[in-house]
């Protein structure tokens, strides 16, 4: 599991480049909470602490959840989200290896459903064309800890929707894709900043594939399904639907494909099952993004497919050697 964390380094690094040091603080808060919650749960369940604390699974949960939150989100968001993930979504079901739902995504969905306003307050990317009110590390820290920005700033001045969110809003207002795209948040094929973060994630994911820590089926199936859905819809009406490249490089597409949907514990287990599972996530992500109420659909898509995993597993048992079928 260590390697999974190493593979996330490029993503985290670019994230910090584009959105400031907030993420690092979120990660620290999340990891501390995760380890504390994990230790408490293990103690209550009478399990040995060291092997479980050191295997890194709780840390992955915390880091992935932190990556999904706006960098300036108040501290209690990440803390309660991670605690929810570890205690309720993981240990209640029997701990490591037994949780049917992806803990990080349960934590994120809980936060998104509970505090939609907070989770929509993203920052503008730190790229030319934006003059983001860049906060110093200390200002970032106090913002996270107090839940209010430094005196000289207002929330409205420092926040901005994510490209996916902005696109949804604009399309809902009846703009065409072209008009919406004029927004400075967008570049030629994706959201500015986000496209690079997604490419870094792709690289990290590729490394995990090369190490054979994850298998190709889930990411390929998920991204292909997303690509196909987006291609069909944008070919049908380019004015109303974003193109496939935008979808692949926006939001949590790559993180979802390589790091979240691939969580072995909550994913389907046979190769054929993994293809179905991945494709399901891709399609649902597209549907929720395009027609649903939330700007990104990866978390919900993963949870819905988690629910289907035991069923998929049941119907995709490989033919056993020497058995007819």
């Amino acid at each position: 599991m260590r390697q999974v964390l190493y593979a996330l380094v490029p993503t985290v690094a670019l994230h910090v480049v584009f959105f400031g040091p907030g993420l690092l603080i979120q990660i620290v808060l999340g990891v501390v909470t995760a380890l504390a919650a994990e230790a408490a749960a293990l103690r209550l369940r009478g399990k040995p602490l060291p092997p479980f604390l050191l295997d890194g699974s709780a840390i992955i949960t915390a880091v992935l959840l932190a990556l999904c939150l706006p960098p300036l989100a108040p501290w209690w968001l990440v803390v309660s989200g991670v605690a929810f993930a570890i205690l309720l979504a993981k240990h209640l079901f029997g701990g490591l290896g037994a949780n049917p739902f992806n803990p990080a995504m349960v934590g994120y969905a809980v936060l998104l459903v509970s505090f939609p306003a907070r989770l929509l307050q993203w920052l503008p990317p730190n790229v030319a064309g934006f003059e983001p009110a860049s906060l110093s590390f200390l200002q970032t820290l106090t913002t996270i800890l107090t839940g209010t920005p430094p005196a000289q700033f207002t929330w409205d001045a420092i926040t901005s929707p994510t490209p996916l969110d902005a696109l949804r809003t604009d399309l809902a207002l009846g703009m065409t894709m072209g008009e919406a795209h004029a927004n400075a948040l967008f570049s030629a094929f994706g959201g500015r900043g986000w496209e690079w973060i997604n490419l870094a994630t792709l690289a990290g994911g590729g490394w995990l594939l090369a190490l054979r820590i994850i298998r190709w089926q889930i990411p390929v199936a998920m991204l292909t399904a997303l690509f196909v859905c987006a291609s069909i819809m944008s070919a049908a009406d380019p004015g109303a639907y974003a193109g496939p490249l935008f979808h692949l490089t926006s939001g949590a597409s790559m993180l979802g494909a390589f790091f979240i949907a691939t969580d072995p514990v909550s994913a389907a287990t046979s190769p054929r099952g993994k293809l179905i599972y991945g494709a399901g996530i891709g399609v649902l992500t597209y549907v929720i993004r395009t027609w649903g109420g939330y700007p990104d659909g990866v978390a919900f898509a993963v949870l819905i497919m988690n629910l289907a995993v035991p069923l998929i597993d049941r119907y995709t048992i490989p033919r056993i050697y020497g058995h007819a079928r």
Partner: protein, 205 residues
Amino acid sequence: MATPAKPVLTLAVIAAVLTALVALVASFTRERIASNEQAWIRQRLDALVPPATHDNDLLADSISVTAPDLLGSAQPVKIYRARRAGAPVAAVLRPIAPDGYRGPIELLVAIGQDGRLIGVQVIRHQETPGLGDAFESRDVHWLDRFRGRSLTDPPPPRWTVRRDGGDFDAFTGATITPRAIVKAVRNALEYYQRNSQRIFEQPTQ
């Protein structure tokens, strides 16, 4: 093995008795239920246009009009009229803001004889709890901001949310709902302005 006659008979008798009971209760409660429904809307109308200010029955003195462009619905929309000694005092329109975040928002918009807003109420909506429903919030009465406004106050280009260069605050993290409501209220004002004569002259339906 009994013949089916017995269960058929048993159940039929039970059903007869029970249905009689329900029907009895229904006839006993019919009138009260009907008056309850009236009371529901009356309560809201009274909150907008205090009974002291008029002497007619708003529910009885109402018309239905159809104006998809300004009142947001292809279906007829109700307008209640308040009069004092026969003279028009106010009109309460029941328009729909079609472009809410999760669907149409049903409003009551009370407009005074002078074209100024007396009050706005949301009577049905499906906006996101905790986000799009901030107009319901107890401490900040967002809808109060409409009181006293008219088509010229603020001037037309500023009749929108602050984000779009207007005068009205949006909610934190949610612009769509306020935008939809502001637009619907403005349209209701415009409808009123264009038709104020006819609104009060048209016979009750």
